[in-house]
Amino acid sequence: MSALPMIAGALIAAPLPVAAINWHSLFFLLFASVSCGFAVAVVAADNVVRMAFYLVLSLGATAGLFFLAGAEFLGAMQLMIYVGGTLVLLVFGVMLTAQAPLVAIKGSGRDRVLAGIVGVALLALLLQAAFSVKPWRAPAAGVVAEPAATPIGMSLVGVRVDEPAVGAPAANKRPGYMLPFEIVSIHLLVVLVGAAYLARAKRRKVPRAIEVAASVEPPASVAEHASIGRERHRSGSVLAGGRP
Amino acid sequence: MSPADALTQPALWPLSMIVFLPALVAAVLALPIIPKGREELIRWVALATTVVVFVLSLWMAWPTLFGAVGPAQFTIGEAGMQGVVKKPWIPAFNIDYLLGVDGISMPLVVLTTFLSVLACAASWPITKHVKAYHVLFLLLETGMLGVFVSLDFFLFYVFWEVMLLPMYFLIGIWGGPRREYAAIKFFLYTLFGSVLMLLAILMLYFTSDLRMLSPEQLVASHVVSPALDAASRADAVAAIAAAQSPIHTFNLLALAQLGQLPKSPFAAVSLWGMSLEIWAFLLLLIGFVIKVPVVPVHTWLPDAHVEAPTPISMILAGVLLKLGGYGILRICYPICPGAGLSLAWLVCGLGVVSMVYGAFAALAQKDFKRMVAYSSVSHMGYVMLGLGVWSAVAGNEFRWDAWAQGVNGAMFQMLAHGISSAGMFFMVGVLYDRVHHRNLEEFGGIFNRMPVYSGLAVAVFFAGLGLPGLCGFIGEVLVTLSSWNYSRTLAVISAFTVILTAAYILWAIQRVYLGAEYKGPHGDHLTPMTGRELAIATPLVFLAILFGVAPQLIFNYVTPSVNRQVETLADWTRDVGSKAAQPVAGGPPAADVTSR
C-alpha cells in the first residue's frame, strides 16, 4: 500500500505539479471513501457472500487510515486480525452455511426506515461530538518518524519507555500493561475451552441428567398451561420482554 | 437470665414468654415429629398453649387473683410504663429489644390472649391441614402480642408485618369461596399502609437526636435504664450529651419526648411546604387507618371478614382492628402532637364518616356475616372520633377533661367491641356450621329450634347495639359526650348513628331469630349448641354484661395512663401548640371520668 503513492508519483510526476498535490489528503480521501462506501454497501447488499467481501474491502481501507495516521502497529494488527483472521473465518462460515434461503437477506421496509432514522441520528450526534473538540479538528502534524512497536512491546512487559504526552500533569500515572497481557491469556484459555465445548460433537457416553429429565414429558396439565403462556408471550410487547 | 437481670428487669421472662411462647410451640409443631393423623393432639397442644399464655397475661395483669404481687406484675393505678425489658439488639442502629406495658396496652394484651383461647377452641371444626392451621394461628398470636408490648419502633414494625403472612394463608386456604381474592386484597392494602409507615419511621429516626433530651427525660424514656445506680446513669447521660454527631433512636418513648419538645426536631425539617411532623403523622395515620379500618380504605374488611373462617373472623374483628387504634394512640399523637392538633378535623371527620357509612352499609346487607363486618367499620368509627377529639380546641379554651373522656371512651370501645364483635362473628359461625348459608332472607324462627343459642346470641347482638347495661354502651356514650365540645354537629351525628345501629341489628335479630318457623335449607341440622360452643359463648356474654354493669373494672387499668398522656399533651398544647388557648382550671380527678 505504501508503494502505491511512489509508483503513482513516478508515473505522473513529469506532466503534473507533484508538489502541489497534498498526497496525504488524497490518500485519506481515497481510503475514507472506500471504507465508508463499502460499509454502506455491506448494509445495502442482499447477498451474504457479497456482504462479506465488501466488509473485507472496508476493513482493509480502515487499515490504510491507520497507516496514514502513523499507527503502523495498529494498521498491521488490523490487517492481520480483522482482515486476515476474522474475515476469513466469516467467509468460511458463510460458505459452509449459506443455503439457498439464506443467500438473500431482505430487511422489511419498516425496518429500513427505523434503522435509517436511528443511524442518521447517531451520525449527527457523533459528528457534532467530534467537531466540538477543537484539537481533533486540526489535521495531524504528519507521520511520526520513530516506530511505535518498541514502546508498545515494552509496555506489554510492564515498562513504559515512551515519553509522557506534552503538557500532561506530572501526577498522571502511566502503568505498564503486563497485567492485561497476562490476564488476556487466561481469558483466551477459558474462552477456547468454552468454544471447544460448544463445538464438540453431541455423542456422549452417558446421557446428561437434564436430558434424562427432559426426555420425560411434563404432565399434560403443565404442558397445556405452558403452551398457553407461550401464546400470550408471542403477542406480548417487546417492552415486557415478550417476543415480538 | 443472670441474677442482675432478675432484679433490674423482672418482667423479662414473663413478657418474652407471653410474646414468644406461641411461636416456639408453632416451631415445634411444624417439625415433622408428630405423625399424620394425630390431629386431636395438635388441637389440644395449641389450645393448651393459648390457655397458658392467657393465664400468664392474667398473672401479670391481675396479680391479686394469684395471691402474691411481685415486681414483674402490673400495678393498677400507676400511669407509667411498667415491666420494661431492654436488651440491645442491633447496636449499629440503636435498636433495642424493648418491651413494656402500661394501662393502655395491658388490657389489650389480655383481650388478645383471651380471644385467642376462644378462637382456638372455635377452630375444632377445621378438618383440613390441621397442623398447618394451628402453626399459622400461633404465629399470628405472637405477632399480635408483640405489637402491643413493643416499645421500639423497629421491633413494633417487625411484629406488625409478622402478622400479615399467617393471616394471608389462614384466609386463603381455610376460607370461603372467594378466599384467594379476599386474602390478596387484605395483604396488598395492609402492605401498602406498612410501607408508608416504614417511610415515616425512617424519617422520624433520622431527624431524632437524643442529645436534645434532658437527663430526666432520658431516664423516663428508658434510654438510660432507671435500674442503674446513680453513677452509671450520670455516665450514660454524659456520654450521650457529649456525642459529636446526632444520636438517632427508635425508642417510642424517647421519640414522644422529642416530639413534645418546644423546639421539636420533627417540626424543624420542612418538605414541600409541610413540616416533617405533618408528613410523618399523615403517613402513619394512613398506615393505621387501613387497619382500623376507616372509610375509604375499608374495602378489604368485608371481603376478608366474610371469607375467613369463623375463628379467624373473631381474631380479625376482635384484635387486628384494635391494632390500628392502638397505633394512633401510642404513636401518632405523642410523637406528632402538632400535626394531631392541626389535623384533628381529619381524624374526627374520618371517624364520623366511617360510623355513618358503616351503619348504612350494614343496613343494606343480605349476608349475615357481611352485615356484622360493616358493623365493625361503624363501631370503630367511634374509636376514631374519640381519639380525634383529643386535640380539640373549642373557642378560646381547650377542655382537656373532654379529651380524657374521649380517649377513655375510645379505649373502652376498643375493648368492648373486641368482645362483642368476636361474639357476633362466633354466633354467625355457629349458625353457618349448621345450615351452610348466611342469607338473612332465608332465616327465621331460630328461637324455637335453638333457644339457648338464641338467648346468648341476642345478648351479644344487644351488646353490639350498645344497649345500656351491656359493654357496648359505655364507649359510645363517652365518645358522643366528649365530642360535644369539639363540634355539636359531629356529636349529633354520632348520636343519630346509634339509631341506625339499632335499626340494622334489631332488623337482623328479627329476621334471624324471631318468626314462626325456619324455612331455609338444612333445617334438620339445627341441633342445639354443643358443650364446646357453649363454653366459648358464655364467657363472652358474661363479660359483655359484666363490663356493661361495672365498667370501672376496665377504667381502673386504662384511666391513669390515658389521663397522664392526655395531661402531658394538654400541657404541650398550652405551652407550645396553641398559645391562645387557656386550660380549664384544675381538670377533673382521674377516677371521675365514668361518673358522668
Binding site: L126, Q128, A129, S132, V133, K134, G158, V159, R160, V161, N172, K173, R174, P175, G176, M178, L179, I183, H187, V190, V191, V193, G194, Y197, L198, R208, A209, I210, E211, V216, P218, P219, A220, H225, A226, G229, A240, G241 | I90, P91, A92, Y157, V158, V162, F169, G172, I173, E180, I184, F187, L188, L191, V195, L196, L198, L199, M203, Y205, T207, L276
Partner: protein, 551 residues
C-alpha cells in the same frame, strides 16, 4: 529514567506490592489450570473436577477472608501477621485494593464454594462436562474479581469482557435444547453490541481526558467541568462537555447491560429461561454483585478525588450531580419495569429473571444515594455503601436459594413452569416452606433478610433527604422504591399461592426415592435468609468494613 531503573521499579512493584494483594485471583487462575490438567492427564482422570475446583476455591476463600480481616479498621485480629494498607494501587494503577475489593472478593469466593456444592448436588453439570463448566465459571469469576478492583479504563473493559464471554458459553451449556442455544446467541450478540458501544465511550473519554487512569481522569474532569480551566489537551472547554457526556452515557450502556438495567435488560429473561437454573444462579448473584461493585468504582472513581481538595472539587460536584440523576433515573425505571414485567410470567425462571432486574433496580437506588452523599457527607456515604454491601450479602443467599429450589424441583417434577408446582405442599411441605421464606424475603417482609436489606437502602435515601442532599430526587426514588415493594408482592405471592392453595394435578409424576442431599442444601442456603433477618449485626459489621473505603 534509564531502562535499568524502570525494570527494577516494575519488578519491585509487581513482586512486593501487587502480587501479595492479588492472591485470590492467582488462586483462581491456578485452579483453572489444575482443573484442565486433571482432565488432560489420563492418570488423573479419576479425580472429579468438581473436587479440584472446590479445593482451589477454598484456597481463594481463605485468602479473601484473610485479606478482609487484615484491613485497617477491621474489628477482628488479622489472620496473617501483616495488615494491609487501607488503599493500595496495584500494578502501577491498573487495579486498586481497598475494603470494597476485599469484601466483593470474599463474597464471590464464598459464593463459589456454595455454588460448586450446589451444582454437584443438582446434577448439572455431570462429571463429563464438569471440567468445562467449572473452567468457564472460574474464568468468569476471575473477571468479576477484576471488575470489583478496576481502576483503569482498560481494566474495566477487560474485566467486563472476561466476566461476560465465558457466560455466553455457559448459557449454551445444554447443547441439545433449542432454547439454550437461542439464549446463548441472544446473550452473545447483545453483549458484543453493548461492549462495542462501551468501548466507543471509553475511547471518547480517554481521548478528551488524555488518560485512562480513573483518579487522573477525575482530576482532569474536575478541571474541565469546574472552572473551565485549560486542560492539557483541550484549549476550549465548552466543547468537550458534550463529548464527555456522550462518552459517559455510552460507557453507562455497557455497565447497564452487565447490571441488566432498563433499557438494556432485554437479554435477561431469555437467557435465564433458556439456560440451566444453575447458570441462572451464577448470573444473577455473582454477575450482579460484580456489576454493582463496578458501578460504584466508576462513579466513585470519576466523581471523587479522596482527600485531595483542590480546584477540581467544584467541577466534580457537577459530575456527581449528573451521575446521581443518571443512576437514579435508571434505578427508578429498572425496578418499576422489572416488577411490572414479572406479572404475566408463567415460567419460574423467567419470573426470577425479572425479579433479578427489579433487585438490580433497588441496588442502583443505593448506589444513587451513595454517590449523592459522596464528598458531601462521608458518614452517610459510608453507610450507603454498607447498605449496598449488606444487600449483596443477603441477595447471595436469597437468589441462590431460589435457583436451588428451582433446580431441585426441576429434577423432581421435570418442569420449570409455575403451574407444575401446584399443590406441592401436600408432597413436599419442607420445600414449600423454604420457597416461601425465599419469596417473602425477596418481597422484603420482616423478619427476613430481604427486609433488612431494603430497610438499609431506604434508610440511606432518607438520610440524604433529611440532610437536604439532592432532596427532590431522593424523595422520588424513595417513593418509587416503596411502591415497587408493594407491587412486587403480587407476583411472588402468586407462586406461593400456586404451591399452597391450588390442588395438585392428578397426573403428577411420583417423586423418586427421597434423597436427603438436595433438601440439606436448600436448608443450608435458606436458613441464613431467616437468621440474617433477626440477627443481622454480624453481617452488618462486615459490610461496615466494606464501606470504609469511601472516606
Amino acid at each position: 529514567m534509564d531502562l535499568g531503573s524502570l525494570l527494577t521499579s516494575t519488578l519491585t512493584d509487581t513482586l512486593e506490592v501487587s502480587l501479595p494483594l492479588f492472591r485470590v485471583e492467582l488462586a483462581l487462575s491456578a485452579t483453572i489450570v489444575l482443573v484442565l490438567l486433571c482432565r488432560m492427564l489420563p492418570v488423573l482422570r479419576w479425580l472429579d473436577s468438581a473436587l479440584v475446583a472446590l479445593g482451589g476455591v477454598a484456597f481463594a476463600l481463605w485468602y479473601a477472608w484473610s485479606d478482609l480481616r487484615g484491613l485497617p479498621g477491621s474489628p477482628w485480629p488479622a489472620v496473617v501477621a501483616a495488615t494491609h494498607p487501607a488503599s493500595q494501587e496495584l500494578f502501577g494503577g491498573l487495579l486498586i485494593f481497598d475494603s470494597l475489593t476485599a469484601y466483593i472478593r470474599f463474597l464471590l469466593a464464598g459464593f463459589l464454594v456454595l455454588y460448586i456444592l450446589f451444582t454437584k448436588i443438582s446434577g448439572i453439570p455431570d462429571r463429563e462436562d464438569g471440567a468445562d463448566f467449572y473452567t468457564l465459571v472460574l474464568g468468569s469469576s476471575l473477571g468479576m474479581c477484576l471488575m470489583a478492583s478496576a481502576n483503569h479504563l482498560l481494566m474495566i473493559f477487560m474485566a467486563v469482557e472476561m466476566a461476560s464471554v465465558p457466560s455466553y458459553a455457559l448459557a449454551g451449556m445444554l447443547k441439545g435444547r433449542k432454547a439454550s442455544s437461542e439464549a446463548a446467541l441472544k446473550y452473545a450478540v447483545y453483549g458484543a453490541g453493548a461492549a462495542g458501544v462501551m468501548l466507543y465511550g471509553i475511547s471518547l473519554l480517554a481521548g478528551v481526558l488524555g488518560t485512562c487512569h480513573l483518579p487522573s481522569m477525575a482530576a482532569e474532569l474536575g478541571r474541565i467541568v469546574g472552572d473551565g480551566a485549560d486542560s492539557f489537551y483541550v484549549a476550549d472547554s465548552a466543547g468537550p462537555i458534550m463529548v464527555l457526556t456522550l462518552g459517559g452515557l455510552m460507557m453507562a450502556v455497557g455497565l447497564a447491560f452487565k447490571l441488566s438495567a432498563v433499557p438494556f435488560h432485554f437479554w435477561c429473561p431469555d437467557v435465564f429461561e433458556g439456560a440451566a437454573a444453575e447458570v441462572g444462579a451464577f448470573l444473577s448473584v455473582a454477575s450482579k454483585a460484580a456489576a454493582v461493585a463496578l458501578a460504584v468504582r466508576v462513579a466513585f472513581g470519576l466523581g471523587w478525588l479522596g482527600d485531595a481538595a483542590d480546584a477540581s472539587a467544584a467541577g466534580l460536584a457537577d459530575v456527581r450531580h449528573f451521575l446521581v440523576y443518571l443512576i437514579g433515573l435508571m434505578a427508578a425505571v429498572t425496578c418499576t419495569l422489572g416488577n411490572l414485567g414479572a406479572y404475566g410470567q408463567t415460567n419460574m425462571k423467567r419470573l426470577l429473571a425479572y425479579s433479578t432486574i427489579a433487585h438490580a433496580g433497588y441496588l442502583l437506588l443505593g448506589v444513587a444515594a451513595a454517590v449523592a452523599m459522596l464528598g458531601v457527607d462521608p458518614e452517610g456515604c459510608r453507610k450507603a455503601v454498607t447498605a449496598l454491601a449488606f444487600y449483596l450479602g443477603t441477595y447471595l443467599f436469597m437468589n441462590l436459594g431460589a435457583f436451588a429450589i428451582v433446580a431441585v424441583l426441576r429434577n423432581r417434577l421435570r418442569s420449570e413452569e409455575i403451574a407444575a408446582y401446584a399443590g406441592l405442599v401436600r408432597s413436599n411441605p419442607g420445600m414449600v416452606v423454604a420457597a416461601g421464606a425465599v419469596l417473602v424475603s425477596l418481597v422484603g417482609l420482616p423478619p427476613l433478610a430481604g427486609f433488612v436489606s431494603k430497610f438499609l437502602i431506604f434508610s440511606s435515601l432518607v438520610e440524604a433527604i433529611t440532610k437536604g442532599i439532592e432532596r427532590p430526587l431522593m424523595l422520588v426514588l424513595l417513593v418509587i422504591g416503596g411502591l415497587n415493594t408493594v407491587i412486587s408482592l403480587f407476583y411472588y405471592l402468586r407462586v406461593l399461592k400456586v404451591m399452597t392453595f391450588d390442588p395438585p394435578p392428578e397426573d403428577r409424576v411420583a417423586a423418586p426415592a427421597p434423597v436427603w442431599l438436595p433438601g440439606a442444601l436448600v436448608t443450608a442456603v435458606v436458613v441464613p435468609v431467616v437468621l440474617l433477618g433477626i440477627f443481622w449485626s454480624g453481617l452488618y459489621a462486615y459490610a461496615q468494613l466494606a464501606g470504609t473505603f469511601a472516606s
